[in-house]
Every structure is written in C-alpha cells, then in structure tokens.
Symmetry: C2
Subunit: 556 residues, 2 copies
C-alpha cells in the first residue's frame, strides 16, 4: 500500500503530471459517454473518475493502470439493470451504485482470499471474441443517438453533427498522429495529441451548438451538469441484493479480466511485477469508491491505460493528478457543458469501441489453431445474439471445455534405461533397454480429476501392449500434487490391477505429495512398493527378469 | 452398434435373463416412485423404462448399465418444470417429454461431436457433494407423502403404513442379505434377493390396503394405472423450446456424469473398455425414446446398474429382457396396482436416496485434502440452499476453480548436465553442471492460457536469480501442445527478453507442436534458435562461456 509514495523520486513528477492531465482530458468526454452507455446521467461518469482513482492509487500496484468508466463494463451494467428499473429513475441510479458496491466487495474478497489466479480463466481468443461482440453491440446501440432518431430514420441536424464528429474522430485516429508529427511534434507527443481529439471535437461541438442554436433545432444535448463534487452516497435497495448478486459476480469477474489483460502487457514493458491479488484489492476499493460517489462499476480501460503509460506515468500519482483535475473541473462552473450534443458523445463512443476491434488475434488463431478461432467467433456470436452476460458464460464454457480437453490428454512416457547408466528416458525418443515383466510409466502432469481416468486408461493400454508385465511402476517425478479424485483413481487402478496379478508401484514421489499420501490408505493398500528412485525400482523389480537391449515391445 | 448381438455367446443367456428379470422387478416400484419425484403420473416411470432401454441396447456400449428413471434427474426435471406448468397438468406432461427430447438431442450431439471428455468436468468430491445434497432434498420432499400430511402433522394410517414400510426397507437393506444367506441362499443371490425388498413391500402394502380398506380411511393410493403400452407421443409446446434449453443442457450434462461415474467402475471390474462417445449417443437415444413414450428424462442409475451387474448381466440383452417384462406387465391387467399406497412409494424413495449418502468420500477428503472436502460441503450446501440447478453451477465453478489453480502452477525445472554425459536433469535433484550465461528451463505441461503467464513469470524469476544469463532455453520435451494464448504469451516473452538483451531459444520441440508453430510468426520472430536437443543447445550456446561444476546459483 502506497509503496510508490514511499519510494517516490523527484524525477517521476513531470511524467506523472503530464500523464495525469492528458488522461483527465480524455476522461471528460469518455466518462460522460460511458455513463450514457450505462444508462446514467453523464456527470456520473466524472464522479466515477475521482474517488475510485484515489482509492486505486492507495491500494493498486500498477503505475500505468487508468481506472474509471469502461465501455464494456457500462454495457454489462445497463444489461444487468434493464430488467430491474427504468433508466433515469432514482431506483436505477441507486441500483447502479449498489452494483458497484457488490462488484467491489466481490473483487476485494477475491483479493483477500488470494484468488488472483482466476485471471487465467479466459483464453485470449475467447477474451478477444468477447471484446469484439461487446464493441459491436455498444456501437449498434449508439446508432439511434448518433442519428437523432431510430434508424433507418434520422434527424437532419443531429445526424449531420454526429456523422461529422464521427468522420473527424476517425480521421484523427487514422491520420492525427502523422499530421501532428508533420507539424513538428515529436512522435510520442503526436501520438498522445491525437488521443485528445475527442475533447477537441466535444469543445467544437459545444461551440457549434451555441453559435448555430442547434439545440433549438431539435439536437439533444446533455443539459445542466450539476456543479460541485459528488455527495456521499449510501443509497441501496434492500429488495435487490440477491437479484444483483449474479450480475455483480459477472461484472466483478470481467472488471478483473479486462483490467489484467492490459496491465500484464504494460507491466512487462516496464519490467514491473504485477501483484494480481493486490490488483484485485485495488479494483475492489475503486468500485466501492464509485458506489460512495453515486456512480457505477469501473475498471481499468486498456486504451486509457496505454495513453497514461505513453504520456509518461511513472507512478500512481498520475491517477491522483487526473482525479484532482476532474474534481477541479466540477468545482469550476459547469454551465458550458450543458450544450454538449448527444450525437457527438455517441460518435466518441462508437470510435472508441470500434478501436477495440482488432482482427489480428482472429487471423493468427485461424492459421494457428482453428478450434481457438472458432471459440473466438462463438463467443463474439454469443454476445451479439444472446447478450453480454450470456457471452461471458459462453466464453467461460468454451475456455473451460478447451482446458478439460487438454487435461484429459496428459503427457505420459514409457521409460527405459540408457544402457550402462542409472538414467531413465522415454523409450520412443532414446535408445534404451527395458526388462520384460516391468513397465515404467512417467506422468508429466499433476494427477487430478481431469486426467486420472486418462492415466488409468493409458496404463491399461500399455499393459495390453506388453503382455508379460507383472510390475507397473508409476514414475511421479513431475507430479506436483495428487487431488482426492486422483487418489480414488489410483486406489481403483491398484485394485483392478491386483485382480489381474499386476502389482502397482510408485517411484520418485515428491516430499509434499508423499506427506499427503501418508494421510490416505493408498500406501497400505498398494499391491507394490514405493521406491525413492526409478533406478531403485528397476533393480529391485528386474532381479528376477532378464536383461534385454530391446524395446519392451520387442522383448515379449 | 449391436456389437454385443453379433458376438453373442450362448453361455451369456442365463445371466442376461436373470439380470433382466431382477431389474424389471426393481424397476416397477422405482420407476413409479421416480415418476412421482418428477411430478408425473406413476405409469410414466414404467413408460420411461421400455423404449429407452431398447434404444440404449441398440446404441450403448456398456453391458451393465441399467437405463431408466433416476432420482436426481427426476428432481432436476421437477425443479425445471415447476416455474413453467402446474404438476399434473397436460402442459406439465408435455414439457417433461420435451425436456427428455432436448436432453436427448444435447447428449446425442455431444456424442457425435465426440465431447465425451466432458465426463471429466466434475471432481469426485464435488460429484459426491451434489449427490448428497440432492438425496437429502429428495428425501425431505417425500416426508409429506410418507406421513400423509405436511409435517409436523401426520395422518395416522398413512404414517403407520409409510413408517412401517420405511422400517422394513431399512431392515432389508441392513440385514436382508445376511438373513437370506442364513436361509441357505448363496451370498450373491442373497445380495440380489435383498434388493427385491421394495417390490415385496409394495405387494404387501397393496394387499394391506385391499384387506383393511385403508384407502377408504384416507390413505392416498396411486389410482387407476392405464393398461397397455405407451402411445407414440409427439406433444411439445412451441412456446417453451427456449425456456427448456438451459435446464436441458444441465440435465443432459448430469445424465452423462451420473451415468459415467457408475459405468467406469463396473467396466473396469469386467475389463471392458467404455467408449464414452458411444455412451453419450446411447443415453441420447434413450432420452429421445423416453420422449416418444410420453415420459421424462432418464439416465443409468448406479444402484440399479450394480444390481444388473451382480445379477449376471453379460450383455445389453439384459436390458432388452427388462424392457420386455415391463411391457408385458403393462399389457396384463394393471388393476391391482391401483391400490398401491403413496406413503409406501415415498418410503422406497427415501430408502433409495438415503442409500446414496456415503460419508467415505468426505472422510477421506477431510484427512487428505481439506480444500476438496470444503468443495464437497459447499456443493452439497449449494444444492440444499439454492436448489439443484444452482448446485450444478456451484459444483462446476468449484471444480473449474480448482483446475485453474492447479494449472496456474505448472511444474518447471531448471536443468543442468550430468557431468560427462549428454543427459540433462533437474538441478535441484541431481548433481549437475551448468554454464553461466545459459539457463535451461523444462516445462512439464502443455502450454496454454491457463499456465503461460506462470511460465513467463517463472522465467523472469529465474532470470532475476541468475544475473548473467543471456541465453534462455525452453526445453519443450513434455509439451504436447501450445494453444493460441500461449503462442501470444511466448511472442511477448520473446519481445520482453529481447529488450533486455536475453535471447529466447526452444529445444526438443515435438513434431506436431513444431508443425503448428510453422503456421505462426514465432519462429521468424524468435530472438534465438530452435534446437533439436537440449545437448545441441548446450554445446552451441556455451561455447563462449566457461564450464563450471557448480550449480548456476553458485556460478554467478
């Protein structure tokens, strides 16, 4: 906690101030836009970017993460609240805060229970598919606001403003950096400058509305933004705790996955070590802060974090600067924001989410592993056809299915002895000697419910191939753990083999594994023995048999 | 398909006939009882035991499995249909069939897509917890019927009949076999004889009701059972397809898990090889058959299969015999069944499900692996507190969480050379030599999204421990596969290390893995080389460095 503050170096200050300011200027349009996506008043997006940032700075460990509203999490928020309350109602606002509170508690609890390993739950193609599906869904939902009427209709002035802003933003994204470089800016500043295009477009749009009186022509604007810092909010609805639990679990889970997928890459670039459990605590605290501010669930946005990183953020102070600047913006007069036209905010949303579409993962996966590519497409399709919550579940099932499939095929090698040595290697890859009557199997994976059946089946197969075998040795040199299901599996294998007159032995059992096995009945029921080394097993078991320089298959 | 019929041996016939008859006598009370659990008329339980058995005999591969109604699946059926229709209504009956159809299609599709590996989805403690929770729930639900009134009230004659039957059945289960042995029956027949107690108790109860006129005293009886085979049923409700999809997925999944958990053990006893994909097809066909008969979802019951096995079933003909006998029972007059008292059926249900409670798994897990024991209790608690569907989800999450946790800690060894040989082994366990500047890491697990971060993190840790290292070799001798996520992870590791002047090399890449990597950009972007063997890497990379007989740690 606050380790960055204790070790703060003066040299970091310039970078932190610059990054903090740049992110604040990104955050004003983005925060308001993502509040709209979540179905909330725009100012809630600013509220979600003050206290949460300060709390993340207190508890989080990444110097680059930029916590705040994020498109996909806002979409999930809207989708969770839609069946429970009418957007804009006081209940809706209260439930959004409550959802942030619950998600925060879930994240905090996972952090304290050290469940950071859950970041490995989604495969990258599935994550990419989820992002693609959600981005398209968000962009699609914005079309009506962009055009000022539900498509295929449109409202002339709104559509002109919206599509104009869209064109400018796309242009800025595509050519902005190159243009600024040509104007003499250094490459890194030019990249950052191009990222401020949404703020400039928003300012221009406000000016256009004011000068041309577009609001009187029917262009919807965001209206009065209340000035001043957010009040302390403690509003919750007692009747909705249980109903919000499932969405809170899903949102907390996705907050973490979305945050980590970006953070890992940025941390690696800096040679920083990311403490995943501390990140969970940081994100949890940020969401609880968002609840206290009367806002909605937040996470670190990959694109904003990348800007924060390249604008020079050296520590969590950058986030503190962002928070202070946003707080200042709320304390200053906010009347000028009232004329911000909604079609332009929609344009910034559409450009931002379409920026998350990248086809590189799909193309790589399609060439490299068709099953992963199909999982990506299925997850994207799941989000588009069944909604964002169902998409998470589809993604989970596909990732888990792939994992189980992999686990059900562990690497298992038949071992033989390198002649004249005490070394035992895979008979398929080395010139080894084996003894008839003895079969050595090395399992290169921990034994657990996902693979113990496969190990038993492989043992049976090898026994069928090598008819004279009476001694089966499982070499457990790479087995870190044996779970309860695998323990039962071994007990059953031992019993089945004993019926057929084959003894089961264990070799090279690791200390911690052995300690645990001593708490079970396996060692006393084992038809064979436990050997310290494969060599011990070899000498003890083959004293009766004959040496043969051949493979087992030939020896029979 | 029908392989058993083609290879049928005359010697099997006696066993198949006996087992078929025994199971038919078990099935009459059991089928009717589990139909009641599912909220359906008792005769549906008999319908569910004719065509499904014939279809399973046609497609299934296990000679011992006894397909038909099963308590937990009936509970899941009732829980799925409760929000959709009133028990006893025509819609309810139609939806039960539709659920069997959908579950059957799910199972069939999984079989044809070769998804049999999904049988590894639940750990054994979680499965046990699920069974325990469901059994208690079923028994609890039967209390009202057993006592003839909602507890704490009771209806005297009903309670007397129900509790009396309960006592008799418990006695038969506990002492029946011993008693029959004392009467001179051989041990195996005595065990089977004791299993027929429910049928005898049911017959006795019918007689008691008839003689004492208990039905006129308010004891509820099952009433008229329609005679004749089931009509072909094709009734479905067009409005309910989507609503039934999720329960059908869960029920199909649990049908498969419940069936396989028993089948594996019985197949191992016979030295039979169970084809899991064919089992899926068999179960799918059976459920579609149950739909056609106007019944409800079915699966193989562990207890019934065990009786089938010990009564001598040698092939699927035993199931055909059961089906034919049950068909005959329906064609003969069924009037005598009308007086069967419901409290006695409840007693058979309670005794059957409480027979599924076994504390051995919990006790073993508690001593051996506390986390597995807690997963068991959490799953049982989930079923009891949140219902059977939520229980499946809790079980899934706990099993998957445990798997991910395991996967996020793959076995990784730093390798050194056994002096004077070309053998490379774990430096922690063997006396090896290493070279400063070169680090060999062997990963004992396939690389995929669940562990690639851990591999990168471990590589970074080892590099931090061994400062002078400029060449990192990943030895992939135990790596069977690298998925798309791991491919990206390796690309990122390669780039990060290159920034720091460390080259990444691969050694002992397996053929299929290499073929796939050639479809990616990894090989061209790799800062180092790909070596055929660890020895090649060792010689090529250490020609510049110095030999040292020490561990790397010492060498720095």
């Amino acid at each position: 906690m606050l380790a960055w503050a204790k070790n703060y170096r003066r040299a970091w200050l310039a970078g932190d101030l610059a990054a903090g300011a740049v992110v604040a200027m990104m955050m004003i349009p983005q925060g308001m836009a993502y509040a709209l996506v979540a179905g909330l008043p725009p100012v809630a997006g600013i509220y979600a970017s003050i206290l949460p940032l300060l709390l993340y700075a207190l508890f989080g460990t990444s110097s680059s993460q930029s916590v705040g509203p994020m498109a996909i999490i806002s979409l999930m928020t809207a989708s969770a609240l839609a069946p429970l309350a009418a957007p804009g109602s006081a209940l809706y606002v209260a439930l959004a805060g409550q959802l942030a509170l619950l998600s925060g508690v879930v994240l905090l609890a996972c952090g304290l229970l050290r469940l950071g390993f859950l970041a490995n739950f989604f495969s990258r193609p599935v994550m990419n598919g989820f992002t693609i599906g959600s981005s398209i869904l968000i962009a699609w939902d914005q079309l009506g606001t962009l055009l000022g009427a539900a498509p295929p209709h449109w409202h002339g002035p709104s559509a002109a403003l919206g599509l104009g802003a869209l064109a400018l933003l796309v242009l800025a994204r595509r050519r902005g950096a190159a243009l600024l470089r040509r104007c003499g800016l250094p490459a890194s500043s030019a990249d950052i400058g191009a990222r401020l295009a949404p703020m400039l477009v928003v300012l221009g749009a406000i000016a256009a509305v004011a000068v041309l009186g577009l609001d009187r022509m029917g262009v919807r604007v965001i209206g009065q933004v209340p000035a001043g810092l957010p009040h302390l909010n403690l509003a919750t609805s007692g009747a909705h705790w249980l109903l919000l639990l499932k969405p809170a679990l899903l949102i907390g889970f996705m907050c973490f996955l979305l945050s980590m997928s970006g953070a890992q890459a940025l941390a690696a670039k800096k040679g920083e070590k990311l403490l995943t459990n501390a990140e969970l605590v940081g994100l949890g605290a940020a969401n609880i802060g968002s609840f206290l501010s009367g806002a909605f669930p937040v996470t670190a946005s990959l694109s904003r974090s990348a800007v924060n990183f390249s604008a020079g953020a050296n520590s969590q102070l950058a986030g503190v600067v962002t928070a202070l600047l946003l707080g200042a913006a709320l304390v200053l007069p906010t009347g000028w924001l009232a004329l911000l036209p909604l079609p332009v905010l929609s344009a910034t949303i559409i450009v931002a989410v379409l920026g998350m579409l990248e086809s590189g993962t799909l193309r790589t996966a399609w060439r490299y592993d068709r099953a992963d590519a199909l999982a990506l497409l299925a997850t994207a399709g799941g989000v588009l056809l069944m909604g964002v919550e169902a998409g998470v579940v589809v993604g989970l099932l596909l990732s888990m299915g792939a994992m189980i499939w992999r686990e059900s095929r562990p690497h298992i090698a038949v071992l033989g002895r390198i002649a004249g040595t005490e070394h035992f290697r895979n008979v398929d890859r080395y010139d080894t000697e084996t003894r008839s009557g003895v079969l050595l199997l090395r399992v290169d994976a921990g034994l657990f419910f996902g693979n113990v059946e496969a190990v038993s089946a492989r043992a049976e197969e090898e026994l069928a191939l090598h008819e004279g075998v009476r001694e089966l040795v499982l070499v457990l040199s790479a087995v870190n753990a044996i779970d309860t299901s695998a323990l039962f599996g071994l007990l059953e294998l031992n019993a089945t083999l004993a019926q057929r007159g084959v003894r089961l032995h264990l070799a090279e059992v690791k200390g911690p594994v052995m300690d645990r096995l001593k708490q079970s009945t396996l060692l006393e029921r084992l038809s064979g023995q436990v050997f310290l080394s494969t060599a011990n097993a070899w000498h003890a078991l083959s004293s009766k048999g004959d040496d043969c320089q051949d493979s087992i298959g030939m020896a029979i």
